[in-house]
Amino acid sequence: MTTTVAPPQAPATRRPPRRRHRGGGAVPYLFIFPPLAFLTVFMFGPLVQQVWISFTNTRLLNPTGGRFVGLENYVRLFTGDALIHSLWVTVSYTAGTVVFGVGIGLVAALAITRPFRGRAVVRGVLLFGWAVPNVAASLIWLWMFNENSGILNRVLSWFGVDAVPWLTSTTWAPVSILLVTVWQVAPFVMLVLLAALQSVPEEVREAARVDGADALSVYRVVTLPHIMPTLRLVSVLMAVWTIRRFEIIYLLTGGGPLDSTSTLVVSLRQTAFEDRDLGGAGAYGVVGLVLALVIAAVQLVLERRAQKGSDA
């Protein structure tokens, strides 16, 4: 259990050395069967069912009474403005989360990667955003964002700044949602990058310094390339997880005002439970799924290319 310092040779995403059992007959299937069976029953089965529902006119009040309607739900979705709008909201929210979440997470990780007095405490506090459960986070942010009595506007008023409509203007609501999201995800990014940074070989860095490189170029030439695979992985994770994020938006704005924070998942929920249109909701879900898979595929291609580059 003495794992205080990670050994330098293997960052998280590097390919493991090839030392596997070459084939083992039925044995690997015995091992993989229980988890796979579980997922089939509790995830893929329901998923297939939901995809099927997206081709029917199923209603929430009569969930077994749906009839096959072909592409009707998709046609409706693609001919209206709603899908384009919520795709735009989703993509910009995702991009914002990746850029700021990973950016701030990286800055935080770099700031505390070297030992200093009180580092444990600082690192602990920096983790708060990740550790506070979504519902509790929504409650406190709701109160902080309160236009009349919230602390944010109170602080602004000390500097003579007018009250900001944090959650009630179409300009500010997406910003506020992004702010809370970044507060939540940046600590996770920081944690993962801290792990990667610990494995940057100190000798190389030292050598670069001896050669007269300043801090910034040491970072650019040595540190950044070393943590690049991790950075890429964590960015994709952020993107994919952001597409799924639900509670914060649902509890802070419910998708409003004027649908300015209505991501695919929020639209899905509204279609399913407020319009009671399970077929239409299924179609939203399938669009979201395709979007996430595209992001995942892009990551896969990038990683392959990077690996080829490093092998060559």
Binding site: L60, L61, E147, W166, L167, G254, G256
Partner: protein, 425 residues
């Protein structure tokens, strides 16, 4: 030796695994039973969002629990659902053949459930010989009675007399005066001038509240032939009136209704438009004394609306007989009296006078009783089951007017075309 120990470990891990899975099965089948067996004692599940109200929840529950004294073979159990999730959750449950035996729901949801065939007809014996008042009218759909009234909460304008007197503000009778008085209170006391629902995230609540503004300005939502007419000058006037208050910097924009009520409770709000249930809450447990809480007619030309909550019996209930027994008891003198004590001045299914002690301690209560004579349902006549569906584009149009300053008439025309596309007429 090592081998055996390994084998034991393996066995242990496997046993742990199957043990966990085994428990899954056991717990799953055990927790399914929601009621008693057919011939044994019966458990009735009653769903209501009010069970969660810190103030009224316990009192209302105690009121219905009295039923058990005279019916020892029937046990009542509550299903509490937060009001924000109530409609979606009940719809999910009942659509899937699950849910409570007795649903206690706002009129709109009640109608949708009845319309979808998810409620059963109430036995004639339940209402036999009972003098039902007008609250009973909307419980009937196509000549079949699907529900009886739980409570009716009429709307009025309420105000904090301390603040209003301190500001020397008048009790307003028009929207312009309301703005002036609210600004007066705000300037003189630092409190908030006016509160009212204004968030689309709280659609069903805001829709009901807004019907007061609509009806108050003469809106009907249907013409003489029963055609849906959304785009009218009256509706544009109602939109403009709401917008003028919204823009007057007297409202805490972004506050949800509980936060606004909490403000009022702490003596930090001058005026509000609220129903009797909400007002009962405001007058209890905060810095504001009930004796300082007053009410007045709405500052509109025409009478306003009321919220109406019904009880209905689920089609999926296996205990419809017991449920009817409960409804019979609730309409009995004992049941109504018991409910009265927990309901403040809300109208009940029969005319039970408000408790005199309560009336004496709550100067706001009598006005509500007077206004109930002319108040209307929040549902659109002839389109009861689709009112939510019709009002969503309307409220979205209003949201565009408020948030982005769009023109009321233009947005109402958009709403009209969206409503026409629903093909309900």
């Amino acid at each position: 030796m090592t081998t055996r120990r390994h084998a034991l470990r393996t066995f242990g891990a496997v046993a742990l695994g199957t043990g966990v899975l085994g428990t899954v099965g056991a717990c799953g089948s055990g927790s399914d039973a929601s009621g008693g067996t057919a011939d044994g004692p019966v458990t009735l599940v009653l769903s209501n969002s009010q069970w969660l109200d810190a103030l009224r929840g316990e009192k209302l529950w105690a009121a219905v629990k009295k039923f058990e004294d005279s019916h020892p073979d029937i046990t009542l159990e509550q299903e509490a659902i937060a009001s924000a999730d109530y409609t979606s959750k009940i719809t999910t449950e009942m659509g899937a053949g699950q849910g409570p035996d007795i649903v206690i729901a706002q009129e709109a949801l009640f109608y949708q459930l009845a319309d979808a065939g998810l409620l059963v007809e109430v036995d004639d014996e339940v209402t036999d010989g009972v003098e039902l008042n007008t609250t009973a009218d909307n419980g009937v759909l196509d000549d079949v009675r699907y529900g009886i009234a739980w409570q009716r909460a009429v709307y009025a304008m309420i105000y904090d007399k301390t603040l209003v007197d301190r500001a020397g503000a008048a009790v307003p009778t028009t929207v312009e005066e309301l703005i002036a008085s609210a600004q007066g209170v705000q300037a003189a006391t630092g409190a908030v001038g006016f509160t009212g629902r204004h968030l689309i995230a709280d659609f069903s609540g805001w829709m009901m509240d807004f019907q007061n503004w609509a009806y108050g300005h003469g809106v009907e939502w249907v013409d003489a032939d029963g055609e849906l007419t959304i785009d009218t000058p009256e509706a544009a006037a109602a939109f403009a009136a709401f917008k003028s208050v919204y823009d007057a910097a007297v409202m805490p924009i972004g506050d949800d209704m509980p936060t606004q009520r909490n403000r009022f409770k702490e003596g930090q709000v001058g005026f509000s438009i609220d129903n009797s249930g909400g007002t009962l809450n405001i007058g209890n447990g905060g810095a504001l004394q009930a004796a300082e809480l007053y009410s007045a007619p709405l500052p509109f030309q025409n009478p306003g609306a009321h919220q109406q909550i019904y009880l209905g019996i689920s089609t999926h209930s296996e205990h419809a007989a017991a449920a009817n027994t409960f409804l019979t008891w609730l309409l009995s003198e004992e049941g109504q009296q018991s409910l009265r004590l927990a309901s403040g001045p809300d109208a009940l299914a029969t005319d039970v006078p408000v408790d005199p002690d309560f009336a004496a301690a709550n100067p706001w209560a009598p006005t509500f009783a007077d206004l109930a004579a002319n108040s209307r349902s929040t549902l659109i006549p002839g389109y009861e089951a689709s009112t939510d569906q019709i009002m969503r584009p309307v409220m979205e149009a209003l949201e565009r007017v408020l948030v982005s300053g769009a023109d009321p008439a233009t947005e109402l025309a958009v709403a009209q075309s969206e409503v026409d596309a629903l093909n309900l007429s």
